[in-house]
Subunit: 406 residues, 2 copies
Amino acid sequence: MSNPISHGANMLGQNRDDVRQHNLSALLRMIHQAGTLSRSQLTASSGLNRSTISDLVTELQELGLVFETEASAAGVGRPSLQVSASDQVVAFSVNTDVDAVTVGVVTLAGEVIAKRREPTNQPTAEKAAAIAAKVIASLRAELKPGTRIVGIGVAVPGQVRVADGVIRLAPHLGWVEVPFGPMLSQLTGLPVFCDNDASLGCVAEIIYGNAKGFSDVVFLFAGSGGIGGGVVINGLQLRGTAGYAGELGHVRIASSKEKDYSGLEGTLESLVRRNDFLETFKLFAATDEELLLEISRSNNAKAQKLIENQTDSLAAALGTFVNIFNPQVIILGGFITGLFAKEQQRLLAGLKYNSLAAANERVLIRESGLGSNMLMIGAAELPFNELITRPSTTALVSAKVKAPKA
Amino acid sequence: MSNPISHGANMLGQNRDDVRQHNLSALLRMIHQAGTLSRSQLTASSGLNRSTISDLVTELQELGLVFETEASAAGVGRPSLQVSASDQVVAFSVNTDVDAVTVGVVTLAGEVIAKRREPTNQPTAEKAAAIAAKVIASLRAELKPGTRIVGIGVAVPGQVRVADGVIRLAPHLGWVEVPFGPMLSQLTGLPVFCDNDASLGCVAEIIYGNAKGFSDVVFLFAGSGGIGGGVVINGLQLRGTAGYAGELGHVRIASSKEKDYSGLEGTLESLVRRNDFLETFKLFAATDEELLLEISRSNNAKAQKLIENQTDSLAAALGTFVNIFNPQVIILGGFITGLFAKEQQRLLAGLKYNSLAAANERVLIRESGLGSNMLMIGAAELPFNELITRPSTTALVSAKVKAPKA
DNA sequence: CCAGTATGTTGTCACAGGCAACAAAACCCT
DNA sequence: AGGGTTTTGTTGCCTGTGACAACATACTGG
């Protein structure tokens, strides 16, 4: 089944150069997502001719984006050359959270080769940018010679205007209308791309995690900062007009007057709350692991009641998402995986109860599969995506060149 | 800002033929949506060379899909040839509803040149297909000689598996798991494409109606058969894995135990109900026009209370949609346009109250602009889209050849 | 060691769109 | 009215990309 309207970019005509770019891009994307692929696999899944693949791979190699290795012979016929994404091409990831700024280095092959967590306390945007820039400079100095940098991807818990990297509102951080992207770019001299954290988590899960290979995915992450959502439809990230789409935590599901962190009533985020568990378990603070453990072995009536109530609320929201998106898989992250683990039957029954049979009959519910690297990988996809979209024209920055001072 | 992941079809390589197809397709789509465009306009908005446009237009002309006329000179310089979509190329539209089967003939230029409404009462799928086939045969006989038929598009009030034209559930019609598409195809000998009615309404509004030119649109239609929704994101129709996405009427917004026509609790459809108005106004049955009139001039307290309650429910749902989709425009159709007209301030305030500022600050609310032809136009887009996607390989059927008997 | 199979390489070819030069058809100004 | 200006259509040539076929290469298996 083909698709419909087709506006915007698709409206444009295409010339020969576009074809070359498209094919280079398609190959690089496959290699990036798989890490390593043989030339024959590339030939098969691209539909292009062997000779064309040869030519394109050579060009990618000359661009320093991939390298070839002899095959570890394993079948009939001449063994095919293995094409791998270069680990000399890296992106920085930044995650600004309430309690820390985390910076990572991710290779084009999708591997997190360094990660540094710098604790802080509800930093201002200026402070967070300064911390990030300092850690990036330090990590940059440690990169192997010859390494080239694509850029910086930033995952922010809040509403991000993707086009220019302005954080419209990050309630927990207290950021309102701050141009974090430009700030960090000025401090580092590198291109910076920002997006919502949960949206990036969704992307990461699709490329390397438990939603691998799926094209229609709903992602829900519940942390100390509320509930964030990410959606991918038909292989495309849902961003909306300005990048504020996918705020699944702020979906209204009940008539309750409870308000969420953004001040909206009766929303998923207002009803499924990490703090309720902390109170019930009399924990002042807890890591997700500790909280999940508590949930799994809780046995008093009060805790059970809380678990059931929150499970029901979660089920109602998931039902709504299924009706709206008809996804193949829903990925859960954060403490709500505890609800899924403990009350799976109840959750699935509730989901069925709150959604249309046709839409829910094949949907899978899974836990997030990437753990603490998820946001690093997801954020790195932002600069990598720029590179992959335009492999031969995107400029890379040498690791060893000093960043210009602002 | 470029987009993200890119799966599926985009993964494939591209060869020269694909370029030609893409460009033919892009031109034909522009001409189809605009009706008539000059060659120079095509050159400008496609970015292709004059000589290329000339070549492509010639090919489309040879395919009989467009024709050229001399310009009505109106500026400096040599007047550009006008390229128009052929009115000799048509599609049939079918809308199966509870009280009637409506069949239309739509030209590639987007004009409804015939429409016939065949009253019936909750027909079975077999009966509806038979009625549709009969009317199509009769309309087909009246087509001008030389007219060619692309196929049939069907708009169904229910959940449609787009891939094979099976209606999974149409509650009001009482259809469950019926292969309406194949049935109608067998009776007519024409290719048949089915989709949900509201989704097609959304497409129609984007191409020819009040959402013209927008790429991120939410469409909500409230009729006697409940509330249907259609969503277009980034110029692409939201369909989900199997085509069941976009069921916006079944979004849960309240804790109420009221059930909607599909048995779900607390949903938009269960709270915003046409029948409540008919009861309050003591109408046994009414056209949308009559009902809208009643709403606009209602002045008793009970009716006002109902209007306000339903407006609040609608606002809550719209807030949820804004948080999820961050659309540029929301189009309302059916009797809820009455709520918008009468209680616009209340609706907008409620929408603001129930959504994030960043997402709602620029969203437009508009009424549907196509009236009774909306579904005819939208349904015809299904076969037209096939033609437009593959202009040089899609087979057209001559109007005058007898349809083969099953 | 040879047949069989799968893959990489090379040179040729077809074909799409770009480009430049020219022709054509309008407007504008004197 | 007529030449200058502007815009557009047409034509022929060129470039570059991927397809294709033929050949070379590298492995398995008997």
